[in-house]
């Protein structure tokens, strides 16, 4: 069975981590925002912005890591905008988030088109190269699959563990989680729920932008419009699938990437027996299925999408 042999190739498992990286960053970002009680549908636009900004920084002569940092800063800036509108002003998080997505992506395309003349093939940069971990990468199969990734992929997994630790084990994490559950109780503790939410949204949005940046600095080597392709919305679905837990988010992103990597390879096996669009639908269908499966068990932060106004119940 050719369709099953795909699972025996190390390149499949290597691709899983590569495809999962932007999803891990994006899901973590959305998760941090939501744990503080704010839905951030700006994710799709912020990822697009991050992708372009990081690419442009490198294209203009910057370092790859500088590109990621600039992307994170720009993402944080748009996070601040989302935060100002949804937290102190208490505007609808759904509509504001979509507005941020429309604004960030249209601004991204505008700036990109402004900076570079129209050309048939988009200009390219030298992307992140695989970083073989000495010793471990020499192990047959496992080495190629897991330990020959680009540096940001290792960073994504580290970020996941770090977020899990901060949320679960530190006073800061407790404050963020409490703000998402009951902001009035946070207020009673002498903390400011508004500041905590703003901080969480800025941090989360920076993560999202780095996720987008991975697409242009590692997965591909150029920027083109609509390249994020709904990955942001998939991340929002993954947060629900992960029941708002960073560890499960990592697992969800990997599982999702496995299906995606598998369908890409399966396309070559079945050739034209099934239209290629059916395979491309798989990730989107999966995220809807994930939402349905987890909807009953989901532990939604109690104050998610409830704006907090001091002295108002």
């Amino acid at each position: 069975m050719e369709a099953l042999e795909i699972f025996a190739s190390a390149s499949l498992w290597g691709a899983v981590l590569r495809i999962a990286t932007p999803l891990i960053f994006g899901t973590l970002g959305a998760l941090i925002c939501e744990r503080s009680g704010v839905l951030n549908l700006g994710i799709e636009g912020i990822m697009t912005l991050g992708a372009m900004v990081a690419w442009m920084t490198v294209y203009q002569g910057g370092d790859l890591w500088t590109g990621l940092i600039v992307a994170a800063l720009c993402g944080g800036l748009f996070g601040l905008l989302h935060a100002m509108l949804t937290v102190p002003l208490g505007l609808s998080q759904h509509v504001t988030g979509l507005g941020i997505t429309l604004f960030a992506s249209s601004l991204t395309y505008y700036i990109y088109r402004l900076s570079l003349p129209v050309s048939s093939s988009p200009p390219t940069i030298e992307p992140f190269q695989p970083l073989a971990i000495p010793g471990l990468s020499d192990i047959p199969f496992v080495g190629e699959a897991l330990f020959s990734q680009t540096a940001p992929t290792y960073l994504a997994i580290f970020a996941c563990l770090a977020t899990a630790y901060v949320l679960a084990r530190t006073p800061l994490g407790l404050a963020v989680r409490m703000t998402g559950e009951n902001p009035h109780a946070v207020e009673a503790q002498g903390l400011d729920p508004i500041r905590i939410r703003i901080g969480a949204i800025i941090t989360g949005s920076a993560f999202m932008a780095v996720g987008g940046a991975f697409l242009t600095t590692a997965t591909f080597n150029s920027f083109f419009p609509t390249m994020v392709q709904g990955r942001g919305w998939v991340c929002i679905a993954l947060v629900v699938f992960a029941s708002w837990r960073p560890g499960k988010a990592l697992l969800g992103a990997l599982l999702f990437a496995l299906f995606d990597a598998y369908q890409l390879r399966l396309q070559h096996v079945v050739e034209s027996a099934i239209p290629y669009q059916v395979f491309l639908m798989v990730p989107y269908v999966l995220s809807i299925v994930a939402l349905i499966v987890m909807s009953r068990r989901a532990k939604v932060p109690q104050a998610l999408m409830a704006p907090y106004r001091k002295g108002e119940r």
Binding site: L41, L102, Y109, L114, P275
Partner: protein, 349 residues
Amino acid sequence: MRLERRDQSSLALIVAAPVAAIIVSLTLSGGLIALAGANPFDAYFEMVKGAFGSRLSISETLTRTTPLVLTGLAAAVAFRAKLWNIGGEGQLYLGALVAAWLGHNIASVVPAPLAILVILLAGMVAGALLLLGPVLLRIRLGVDEVVTTLILNFIVLLFVSMMIEGPMKDPLAFGWPQSVSVDRDVLLPKLLARSRLHIGLLIAVAAAVLIWFVQTRTVFGLETKAAGLNRNAASFAGIALGKTMLGVACISGSLAGLAGAIEVTGLKGYVTLDLSPGYGYSGIVVAMLAGLNPLGVVITALFVAIVFVGADSMSRALGVPSFIADVIVSISLLTMLVCLLFTTYRVRR
């Protein structure tokens, strides 16, 4: 400093909100236009000229307004009941696909005027069915419809791509992915000779008036409003929330589906993957700018159409990337949200 709810918001304030929002967004976008090396005033003048300067440009602007009124209504109807239908784009494409298929196949069987009616109705049904899935998931299982409707947009677009490269491919299109064309007999009549403007505009405006009537003069309209304002109170007052939501979903989805069917039968004659430059998403902005008022939607759809048609010709004249249209529209959405807030709240020290 804190926000305090106003006892009542005056009519002047409600009218001033969108005007202020548009002025602020044009000012901010002006900065971006200056960044491109063009004078913002020249640019806006070129845009107005491009949208109204000639008989042709006026008819183009009105042609662009048509789908925006319908997708705007689709969003306005749903949002009023706090049903977050972000799937307008997908519903539009499915409506368009069904219209193209019927338009190609039934014209020889059914007489023309009846065939047009059947095609438009089928487009509406397709859009409504596509939205019913996510809404049922929300009512039964509590699955957030924002994410499901958004993701369905991508699925539908891939489905359309599959159909127009496969079973519905036009064999005469030289390998270009394009659906079969609808029969000439079922094309919508033109509203203006020697232009692309068709009677779809009248259908869209009639839909706006009809929705306004339903929302303000019927029990169902009141129930949707109540369901949107306060779910618990509405339920306590004996309103069947599930049924109301399904009703709203049918109307909202069918309006977006109708937009697609009209684009095919009125304008293009076939389906391609660039049938809609994001009408479904722009519809959300149209609805918000109108404060979800169905009659206001007609005016704000015209505004958005002016920006898009105007920006195209301004871009050709001054070399400012035409993406500026999307920037102007998205900034006006965000500023409108803030302005709307201040019609119901005020700042107190």
